[in-house]
C-alpha cells in the first residue's frame, strides 16, 4: 500500500489512481512544521496561493481539485469517529449535550470543506471554535420561542427557573403543559407539576445508572441507594489511591505499557455499563490485551522512523497504519495509538 511504504516526506506524483486519502495524508506529512497561528493565516488565502506557499517544490496544479473529495472523506471520517465516541460515552442524561455537539460537529465539518482547509488538524480548530459560536445561536432561538410559550402557561415567578433548566433539555421535545382532567388548572400547580415531572425523569435516569435500583419503588429508597453508591465509589477511590501509594515508590513504571493497557480496556469497557466497575471489565482487559499486542508492536517498530515530530504528524500516522491493517475496532485503536504516541512524546521530552 502506498500509505505504509511512503514513510518519508516524498511528494512523488503517483497517478490519481492511488488512494486520494493517501495523497492527502502524504501532503500533510510533507508540510513543514508550522505553528497553528500561521496555518490559520493561510486559510484566509485562496486555495492556490496557500498550496504554493506550502509546497515549495514543483507546482501541483492537480492539488486544488483533489482537495475537496479527499477532505470530505477525511472530515466524514472525523465526524463519524467523533460521533461514534460521543455516542459511546453518552448516557441518557447527557444525551442532549452530546447530540447537540454531534450536530454541531457535522455542521461545522461541512463548513470546513468550504473553507478549503488542507490539514485535518487545523480543520479541527474551527471545529472547536465553531461549536462555541454555534452553541449560542441555537440556544438563543429555542429559548426565545420557549419564553413566548411559557408566558401562556407558567406563572411569572417560575419563568426564570424553568428557562434556565429548559436550556439544558434542548433536544427533548417541548412538553406542552396542559392540565389533565380532574387536576387543578392553577398556574402554580402546573409549574409544580412540570417540575415534579422533570425530577422524576432525572430519578429514572439515576435508577438506570445505579445498579440494583430498578427493583426499588419509591423515591426515598432510591435516593438512599444512590447515596450509598456514591459513598461506596468514593471509598473505593480512596482505597485505590492507598494502594497506588503503596505500590509506587518501589517501581519505575513504564508509561507506554500503562497507556497501552488503558487503551486496551478502553475498547471493551466503553460499551458495557460503566456502573459495574468492579469485576467485569478487569476480566475483559486481560483477554483483550493479547489481542492488541501485535498492533502495538508494529507501531513500536514504526516509531523510530519518525523520530521527534510534532503531534500533528503523529496524529495522522496511526490512521495510516491502521487503514492498512483493516482492523475491526478501527476507531478505538486509532485513539489508542494516539494515546501511545503522546505518552512517547512526553517520555522523549
Amino acid at each position: 500500500m502506498d500509505l505504509t511504504t511512503g514513510s518519508g516526506p516524498e511528494l512523488d506524483e503517483t497517478g490519481l489512481d492511488s488512494l486520494q486519502l493517501g495523497e492527502d495524508i502524504r501532503h500533510l506529512i510533507a508540510a513543514p512544521s508550522e505553528n497553528a497561528s500561521s496555518f490559520t493565516a493561510l486559510l484566509e488565502l485562496p486555495a492556490n496561493q496557500a498550496v504554493e506557499l506550502l509546497h515549495s517544490d514543483s507546482g501541483r496544479k492537480q492539488y486544488p481539485n483533489l482537495t475537496f473529495p479527499s477532505n470530505t472523506a477525511l472530515l466524514e471520517r472525523a465526524a463519524i469517529f467523533s460521533v461514534f465516541h460521543s455516542s459511546n460515552s453518552a448516557d441518557s442524561s447527557s444525551v442532549p449535550s452530546n447530540s447537540s455537539s454531534k450536530n454541531l460537529e457535522k455542521g461545522s465539518a461541512v463548513k470546513c470543506e468550504q473553507l478549503e482547509t488542507e490539514s485535518y488538524l487545523d480543520s479541527c480548530q474551527p471545529l472547536v471554535s465553531d461549536p462555541t459560536v454555534d452553541n449560542s445561536a441555537p440556544n438563543a432561538r429555542p429559548s426565545s420561542k420557549r419564553k413566548e410559550r411559557e408566558k401562556k402557561v407558567k406563572a411569572a415567578s417560575k419563568k426564570s427557573k424553568s428557562e434556565s433548566s429548559q436550556q439544558e433539555e434542548e433536544k427533548l421535545p417541548y412538553v406542552h403543559v396542559r392540565a389533565r382532567r380532574g387536576q387543578a388548572t392553577d398556574s402554580h400547580s402546573l409549574a409544580e407539576r412540570a417540575r415534579r415531572e422533570k425530577i422524576n425523569q432525572r430519578m429514572k435516569l439515576l435508577q438506570e445508572l445505579v445498579p440494583g435500583c430498578n427493583k426499588i419503588s419509591g423515591t426515598a429508597l432510591v435516593l438512599d441507594e444512590i447515596i450509598n453508591h456514591v459513598q461506596s465509589l468514593q471509598r473505593h477511590v480512596e482505597f485505590l489511591s492507598m494502594r497506588l501509594a503503596a505500590v509506587s515508590p518501589g517501581m519505575d513504571f513504564n508509561v507506554d505499557s500503562l497507556l497501552a493497557a488503558e487503551s486496551g480496556s478502553l475498547i471493551d469497557s466503553n460499551f458495557p455499563n460503566m456502573a459495574m466497575p468492579l469485576m467485569w471489565p478487569e476480566a475483559q482487559v486481560n483477554g483483550n490485551r493479547h489481542q492488541f499486542q501485535q498492533h502495538w508492536q508494529f507501531d513500536s517498530l514504526q516509531q523510530p522512523v519518525w523520530g521527534r515530530e510534532e503531534d500533528s504528524h503523529n496524529f495522522i500516522t496511526p490512521e495510516n497504519s491502521h487503514l492498512s491493517y483493516d482492523s475491526s475496532a478501527n476507531s478505538a485503536s486509532l485513539h489508542s495509538n494516539q494515546l501511545k504516541m503522546e505518552g512517547r512524546m512526553k517520555l522523549h521530552q
Partner: protein, 165 residues
Amino acid sequence: MASKHTIATRHAQGIRARFASRFLRSLLRLRRRSNRFGGSQSNDEGIGKRIRTDRIKIAAYASMARAVGPRRTWSRALLFKLRNRARIHGVSRKRCLVSEKKRVTRNKVVVAISREPSRADTLRKLVPGGDSMDTCVLLEETAHYIKCLATQVTVMQSIADRLLL
C-alpha cells in the same frame, strides 16, 4: 503542544481516555517530585503513607475534574475547592485555624432549628458544589458524577493492577 493535545482529545476519545492520560501524567509528576526531594528513603517514611495517599487522591480528583472540563457544575466546584485548598495549604496554617474557629461558632449560634438532614441534603454534601443547586439540577449532576466516578475507579483499578503485575 498542550493545546493540540486538548483539541485532539476533545470529544473523540471520551472522558475515560482523557482522565487516564491526565492521571498518569500527574502520577509521574508526583513521583518525580518525591524522587527529587531526597531519593528513595523519603518515600517510605519521611513523607508518610497517609500524605502520599492523600496526594494521589487529590491528583485523581483534580485530573478527573480537568478531564471533564468546566462544563459541569461539580467539576468547577471541585477545581475551585482544590485550588483554594492548595492556596491555604501553601500560605500559612495559623490563619486557617483562626478562620475555621470563627466559622464554627457562628454556625452554632445561627442553627437553632436543627432538622434531620434529608436525603437531598446528604446528596448535596457528597456531590461537590451541591450546595448551590436546586433538586432538579442536583440529580442531573449526580448522574454525571456517578458516571465519572465509575470511570475513575476502573482506570485506577487497572493502573494499580498493571503496576503490581
